[in-house]
């Protein structure tokens, strides 16, 4: 379409070629331009909308994470630390957290297998786990850690075990959700400030 338009325009513009009359050229040109613009408009609109849609999706996921209590304010703090110089900061932190927490969880598993239970050690490990969970804003996990520590304090072995199982569940759920979240975020591409959900 553009080629035709340009050819036509050239014909019109070129005085040497008396192929068409000016009025005709102008009209054709105008039509072509309009068509082109429309085309481009729709194309870009489509792309933008798609992007917006993706980002919106990400936002939706994120909001749900907050609404359902999986994440808290601290996560937002982390996101605010992310910028052009640190484009994947949040994901980097979460990855560090996964690594560290896996180690702590297996440590807890081993310690819970002992008999009799070493509550002090359990408490120490859980304190650490709670600290890092709170650093990334893992709200539900953190709450379960608090409960676990309370059971440690009251030397309630059964309570500890139950709480630990629950905590592992919450941890697994959060991890899954975060993975989905990051995947979507990566697909949506770099967010512009305007699109950044708050």
């Amino acid at each position: 379409m553009c080629v035709c338009v340009s050819v036509e325009l050239r014909c019109y513009i070129n005085p040497s070629t008396p192929c068409h009359t000016t009025p005709h050229c102008t009209i054709s040109f105008a039509i072509l331009t309009t068509i082109q613009t429309s085309f481009l408009f729709f194309l870009s609109h489509f792309l933008i909308m798609d992007k917006i849609h993706s980002h919106r999706q990400v936002a939706v996921i994120k909001h749900s994470l907050f609404d359902q209590g999986y994440l808290d304010e601290q996560f937002i703090q982390l996101e605010e630390l992310q910028d052009d110089a640190n484009p994947n900061f949040v994901e980097e932190i979460v990855t560090l957290y996964y690594r560290d927490s896996s180690r702590l969880i297996s440590n807890l598993d081993h310690t819970l297998e002992r008999n009799p239970l070493d509550f002090n050690k359990l408490d120490t490990i859980m304190h650490q786990f709670k600290g890092s969970s709170s650093s990334i804003g893992a709200k539900k996990v953190k709450a379960e850690c608090t409960l676990f520590r309370e059971y440690c304090r009251t030397r309630n072995g059964e309570g500890c075990r139950k709480s630990f199982q629950q905590m592992k569940k919450e941890y697994a759920i959060l991890r899954k959700k975060l993975e989905t979240y990051f995947q979507m975020a990566r697909q949506a591409g770099p967010k512009e400030t305007a699109l950044r959900p708050k």
Binding site: Q74, Q77, L78, E80, L81, N86, F89, E92, I93, L96, Y97, R99, D100, T124, H127, Q128, K130, G131, S132, S134, S135, I136, G137
Partner: protein, 673 residues
Amino acid sequence: MNLGSGKGSTSSSPLKTGDVVSDKFPAGLRVMVVDDDPTCLRILERMLRACLYEVTKCKRAEVALSLLRENKNGFDIVLSDVHMPDMDGFKLLEHIGLEMDLPVIMMSADDGKSVVMKGVTHGACDYLIKPVRIEALKNIWQHVIRKRKNGLKDAEQSGSVEEGDRLLKGCDDGDYSSSVNEGKGSKKRRDEEEEGDERDDSSTLKKPRVVWSVELHQQFMAAVNQLGIDKAVPKKILELMNVPGLTRENVASHLQKYRLYLRRLSGVSQQQGNLTNSFINSQEATFGATSINGIDLQTLSVAGQLPAQSLAKLQAAALGRTTAKAGVSMPLSDQKNLFSFESPRLRFAEGSLHHLSNSKPMNLLHGIPTNMEPKQLVTLHQSNQTLGNLNMRVSTPAAQNNPLLMQMARSQPRGQMLSENADSHATRFPSSLVQPTVPNSISNGVLGNRITGSSNITSAYNTVPQNSSLLNFPINQTNEMSVGNFPLRSTPGITSIPTKAMFHEEGTSSITGPGGFVSSYDMFNELHHQKSHDWDLTSTGITYDSSQHANPLQGNIDVSPSVLVHQGFPCLQQQSVQTRDSNSIGKPLFCTGEAIHQSNLQNVSQHLNNLVDSSVRVKAETFPDPSSQINNLFSDQYGQEDLVTAFLKQQEGVGPSDHDLDFDGYSLDNIPV
């Protein structure tokens, strides 16, 4: 970037008197962040970078400490987590405060009141609850400015009460008994004022970070002891120390730290009045002071008898022990060397102990316990610092002592001490505890065993050895003393009695108190001859006040029932045994040390008396300046080196015979009552 970076200076100088801060400040603030949690560490680093600070992160406290030490002026502020696997955050805090005088902010997910209070008492500038928000980090620069300003102000102002007040405010106002605080406070004010007056050249805002090495601290402690806690003012200390390049400000700030440490110790000691074996063990572990301080101090503090000084001494002794051990294999000729090495330490310990006692016997103890956790034993440094911190905390004039102790602790091979201490800790502690009260005798005994053994500075040791012996005792305990010590422990009451008896015996001819210890140490055998020497010296000291001290000894023993008693007990026993035999030898020694020791003994007796008065449970009673006594002892020792030399010469001649006297067949239980 330093505060003064804006002005073009690249050194980490404090704000200049004009307080002209760089326009870029606080950007470029050099922060060291320590946290074992990698997630938190990374987040903090990112946050601090976002605040435009220069960040150095460390996963481990040891690494952080070595970095800080290597680069004393390379950092402006430290952020540390409380719960770390390799070193307790508070311990690190103390170390930093003592060695580098940097502001430290503690962080933890734990927001319990007790933990936060602990941060305050240990001297943290601030306490942040995790998860830390960036807003909280944006303002940490204020602590840097505040610290520098306070330092400058002290320098600038001349002896105004305000200055003293300001300094006082700077100290931990935590939990010291009012009496102690008042005592310390008044002393502090006076000193502060004097410091202010003397600091006419304090105009330089820059407070160069002086590395208070062990030697330097020992000199500091010696000077303080010589002057006496009450009279220890930076100017005089500086003159006595005669270290080129050292400024009054350096001394003053160090003195302040020491006082804070002592105050903290006394505060802690007040809280903990239980003498436990752990105390002893703790002693042994580190520095002697650290662990001991923590536990023993508490006990001591309870008794109110054991001033921080004693603890410090103990620590020093513990430190000395490590040295002593090394010296065990040393020939007599090397003894002197050891002695000199030890004595500075001892002095430190004594000084610190002294200070502690002066200001607040009990508090000191308390302060020490905090520092001295068994873990601390792990490293001498830790112990040293702890001790130092303890001393620092206690705002007693004896602040000086602590640094020495700490240094001493540091210098001591930790490993030895720690392991040894652990075992004989309990036993040793009593001896160390006893030291304050019967500074000469006990310390001599304890220290003497190890340290003195090698150095034969028995005479001089009266003051020092006692302490050292106590300290050494723990160290040696694992090896040898333990045997002796243990028996003692079992019978606190008995120990007191024996102590007394020993004393009396000493009065007659035997050096009961310290000697006993010494002998136990001598078990090492290598130091046998040395010990006997030490013994004599120690006994000399003891004899002086035998009657008077006997009671005090008891008191002391009571103070740290388990620890002191035991330690003192063995010493006493041994001494009595040895002294009898070595009376001839010791007598000449006595003469030399007599004059010196008597003054000390007097002090000791006072303390002992106090101890006696207190119940077995150490209560935080005002302990009549054991620290002063200790100081005296130290100073005496300081000046006793010559004596020691002379004595050693004597001993060498007499030596062989003395050796036999020592340890053989010592049964610590055979304390003549």
